[in-house]
């Protein structure tokens, strides 16, 4: 195979000298280019590269040890299934957790993909159901109570994952957030100067109080195109179709903007995110003085209300109260 390579080393069509594009590590036949590293890899070296990125992430932030019990939040998408596969390959005790969101055929297909993935590997998959356990689905919740469908979905997932991990005695919850996800969230938070949200955006969130389980993002060094490529190369069947409720999602728009910038200057997303993590995150963390307490309704950890006399109710319980109306009280005549 031949390729044209520009002066910077990244290939470009129709100009420059024609040179053979070879794997950066073994000089073998290339299957994927990773432009932000000015590199290209063969199949085996790309899988090695992804594994190395995850290993580095886990080591740098002391995310988990091999004696820990990990719970991987899986959706059936490329990121979470790639993450589960990688953690199992790296020898971690990793069970999966699928939360059914009630999004019709999309949720059914997603659950089936997760179940098939687990069965093929002899891995344990926990299945939770939002409607059965909490009385609402995401389509029912969309637009109600001032939150978007993605907002309610994210809130519900964070709550259920933490609770399921506590109930199951897991040490760490692992999510499939990748480099693109993290860069897009940081971009959105920066545009709003939401310093409180920025202070909480980190590859690891320690369990700072009883009732909280440690959360980690081992894929934060891996771009989402790379997790998709990992799945294709490993033969992992993932749900390619997008969630039907995601149209118009703000994070998607931010990703599109960042991808335009990345195309012109490879490494932009990497530098934006890693620069934040290495040089700015610690400053914001110091400034984050959020006072935490227990939710009066469910007992989970939540922000303490500004008024000490006010009842502390977590965002999940407030949202659920708006979505699930209590049954009417019907008086029954005594005999």
């Amino acid at each position: 195979m031949t390729a044209t390579r520009s002066r910077s080393g990244s290939p470009s069509a129709g100009e420059g000298d024609t040179v053979a594009m070879r794997c950066k590590r073994c000089r073998g036949t290339v299957v994927i280019e990773v432009r932000r590293h000015n590199a290209a890899f063969c199949r085996d070296c790309f899988l090695h590269y992804v594994g190395q990125q995850v290993t580095r992430a886990i080591a740098k932030y002391r995310m988990a040890g091999h004696t820990d019990r990990l719970l991987v939040a899986v959706s059936g998408g490329k990121d979470s299934l790639a993450l589960w596969d990688l953690l199992l390959e790296l020898g971690y005790q990793a069970d999966g957790l699928y939360l059914s969101l009630g999004i019709g055929a999309y949720s059914e297909r997603s659950k089936a993909v997760c179940q098939e993935f687990a069965a093929e590997r002899g891995a344990t998959l926990l299945v939770h159901d939002l409607a059965g356990e909490h009385g609402y689905t995401i389509p029912e919740a969309a637009g109600k109570g001032g939150r978007s469908s993605c907002g309610v979905c994210g809130l519900s997932k964070r709550y259920v994952f933490n609770r399921a991990a506590l109930d199951g005695g897991y040490d760490v919850v692992c999510t499939g957030h990748n480099l693109d996800d993290e860069a897009a969230v940081l971009f959105g938070n920066t545009l709003r100067w939401d310093t409180a949200a920025m202070a909480r955006q980190f590859p690891v969130l320690e369990a700072t109080r009883p009732g909280l389980v440690k959360k980690v993002k081992p894929l934060y060094r891996v771009a989402e195109r790379e997790t998709a490529a990992y799945c294709v190369l490993k033969g992992i069947d993932y749900v390619v179709e997008e969630c039907p409720l995601v149209a118009g999602n703000t994070q998607m728009r931010h990703k599109e903007t960042l991808n335009q910038m990345e195309e012109a200057a490879p490494g932009t997303k990497h530098n934006f995110l890693f620069g934040y993590l290495d040089r700015a995150a610690a400053l914001l963390k110091v400034a984050d003085d959020a006072d935490l307490t227990e939710c009066a309704r469910c007992g989970m950890t939540t922000l303490a209300p500004e008024d000490p006399a006010a009842e502390a109710v977590c965002a999940f319980c407030r949202s659920k109260a708006r979505l699930v109306k209590p049954l009417p009280i019907v008086e029954v005549a005594s005999r």
Partner: protein
């Protein structure tokens, strides 16, 4: 020469004439190279791989939303 490209998600199929390499195809489709994978017969293609008349390729978007 004509190449048939299946783009997803969302699923749609287009025919593109006179494209020599994957990079040319993506340029014609106005798709960013860094946002997609191009797959032919189950194998990943790089931007510089050559295309042939009658090729059927999948252009799979790797961007997903949420949260």
């Amino acid at each position: 020469m004509v190449v048939t490209a299946r783009l997803r998600p969302p699923d749609r199929v287009v025919e593109v004439a006179d494209v020599r390499r994957v990079a040319d195809l993506l340029a014609r489709l106005e798709v960013l190279q860094g946002a997609v994978l191009v797959i032919r017969d189950g194998a990943l293609l790089t931007s510089q791989d050559e295309l042939h008349d009658g090729d059927k390729v999948e252009v799979r978007f790797a961007i997903s939303g949420g949260g």
